[in-house]
């Protein structure tokens, strides 16, 4: 008698890899292997629907048939790992970037990267923002060493195409706006986060983006502030704190601070 594990591995091989023989051998007399197809269709349809929900602009840009073809190939390569579908599909942008049928759509992978960040902004855990009193209680020397933990909904994206404008136009069904987007207009730097009523996508200039990205990467505060002199850094820093973009901090050890100079700490 096959064990439960053997049964489940045979079914998995059928559902994911499409090899039906091992599973068909397990069926009772009179049960047509065609019935296995019902489960395979449901598996692929449910995983495809999860991708469609996370990547609505990619779906609208390429249409049903193309999207389903890409999804089926993606699901075979990257089957879901978790029953929480909010976590599924992170690798879809990288997959699209290397997907030969999408080679002529240079912006598609960027739109997918943005949609993944938006999905994180929607679904990531609720975490209380940093209590500023904890920061104020530190000595000035300790404040220099503060390394922030960003809110899980926050992403900083640097994209080579204006994916934000493309996504906005596509989701609004605004063909004129879409036609007006020049995909070769150049890089955009974006802050994506959860706002009061939903996900928010904001364009930042290069300096502001680098400042936010370095803080979110956990580089020590003193070093990041030293890089961007003057009041603009302090204003930007206050804005990040006020918006609740950090949820916690650690103190970088002083010897690490001493060993790092801003020029060595770049990406």
């Amino acid at each position: 008698m096959p064990t439960l594990l053997e049964t489940q591995c045979a079914m998995r091989t059928w559902l994911v890899d499409g090899e039906r023989d091992a599973a068909a051998d397990l069926l009772a007399d009179g049960i047509s292997p065609d019935r296995l197809d019902i489960y395979r269709n449901t598996f692929v349809a449910n995983a495809t629907r999860a991708l469609r929900l996370t990547y609505p602009a990619v779906h609208k840009l390429v249409g049903d048939e193309f999207f389903e073809g890409a999804a089926v190939a993606f699901i075979a390569q990257h089957p879901p790992r978790s029953a929480c579908f909010d976590h599924y599909g992170e690798a879809f942008a990288a997959f699209l970037a290397a997907f030969p049928p999408a080679a002529s759509l240079a912006y598609l992978a960027d739109v997918a990267r943005l949609e993944w960040a938006v999905s994180r902004a929607i679904h990531s855990d609720d975490v209380e923002p940093l209590d500023l009193a904890r920061l104020v209680a530190l000595s000035p020397a300790e404040q220099e060493c503060v390394s922030f933990v960003p809110h899980p909904s926050v992403s900083l994206l640097s994209l080579v195409t204006p994916a934000d404008a493309i996504r906005r136009a596509v989701l609004a069904g605004d063909d004129a706006a879409l036609a007006a987007v020049d995909p070769a207009a150049g890089a955009v730097r974006l802050l994506v986060e959860r706002g009061e009523s939903g996900p928010e996508v904001t364009r930042l200039d290069a300096a502001a983006w680098h400042f936010a990205a370095e803080l979110c990467r956990g580089l020590p505060l003193g070093m990041v502030l030293a890089e961007l002199h003057g009041t603009s850094a302090e204003t930007a820093f206050a804005a990040h704190l006020g918006a609740g973009r950090f949820v916690d901090f650690r103190l970088a050890p002083p010897e690490l601070m001493a060993s790092l100079s801003p020029s060595e700490a770049g990406p």
Partner: protein, 292 residues
């Protein structure tokens, strides 16, 4: 093992509806007169607006958390991260009922996105019971387990499904979520007697009933199969089987599920009203006599 009985608890023996995202807004605006609602736990595992919305709805309506992804039948064990996510949702929502399925959906760390059928064997039974024990210990409460709808049977199955269900309830102290549509679908697919299936479930264990629509599909080999797609109204045969269930079990919290081609809130409430009228006619059943 003994756990606090959550039934009748805050989910009353009345009709409820499955709450889906499409109806969040309508429910918040209209605050419909419905006794309780059930959601898929997996849809509220993140933060943000979805769970906040459910917290608001929770103020007016008792909520049942119905899991679809824990995979109680996985030979390789439960995913501790998923169990933790369920516990987090339960802590925020304080559900009146919690339930899962007699099925599996995870193998070799792959989530197969469906409630897959288990071979009905002693090994499966002991795996499921171990996992139900684990969940009830982690949640510190009794859960309900739902009977599956299935499209195939395994060569090596040895235990009739109704006996499997009863044995899980007996060994773990969990309750049974009796899905009347699933009984009908499986019975038609496998040539069982649906009334006999109902008659063999232990009345005292029944904590909830599910009702839904299903579809009929023709297969290439010329046979037809009933597909449990929750995409239409409850059919007359299933309503008739529901009356039998109520006669046997007495009034039990009853849910209308609708997951594909989700209709307007009004249609759902209309289906719930039909169930509600049948519930109002139901006499205390064997379940209450057993429990007394």
């Amino acid at each position: 093992m003994s756990f606090p009985q959550v039934h009748p608890g805050p989910v009353p023996a009345q009709a409820g509806i499955g709450l889906r995202f499409q109806h969040h807004e309508a429910v918040l605006e209209r605050r419909p007169d419905i006794a309780w609602m059930e959601v898929h736990t997996e849809n509220y595992m993140g933060g943000g607006t979805a769970i906040r919305c459910l917290e608001t709805i929770r103020r007016d309506h008792p909520i049942s958390l119905h899991g679809v992804g824990l995979s109680l039948g996985s030979a390789q064990g439960l995913d501790p991260a998923h169990l933790k996510r369920i516990r987090k949702v339960a802590e925020r929502i304080e559900p009146g009922l919690m339930s899962e399925h007699i099925a599996w959906s995870v193998a070799e760390a792959t989530y197969l996105a469906d409630l897959l059928p288990l071979p009905m064997t002693e090994e499966s039974l002991s795996v499921v019971c171990r996992h139900v024990d684990e969940v009830q210990s982690a949640m510190k409460r009794r859960i309900l387990v739902e009977n599956p709808s299935t499209y195939l049977r395994f060569r090596h199955s040895t235990i009739p499904e109704w006996e499997f269900m009863a044995a899980v309830a007996r060994r773990t102290g969990c309750g049974i979520l009796c899905d009347v549509n699933n009984i009908y679908v499986s019975a038609r697919n496998h040539d069982w007697d649906p009334s006999a299936y109902l008659a063999r479930l232990p009345p005292a264990a029944i904590g909830e009933i599910h009702l839904a629509g299903h579809s009929v599909r023709s297969l290439p080999d010329g046979t037809t199969l009933r597909i449990d797609d929750h995409g239409s109204r409850v059919i007359d045969d299933v309503w008739a089987l529901y009356r039998e269930a109520l006669a046997r079990f007495g009034p039990v919290p009853t849910l209308i599920e609708w997951d594909t081609d989700v209709p307007s809130l009004g249609v759902l409430l209309g289906e719930a009203a039909i169930a509600g009228a049948m519930l109002a006619d139901a006499k205390p059943g064997a379940r209450d006599a057993d429990a007394a």
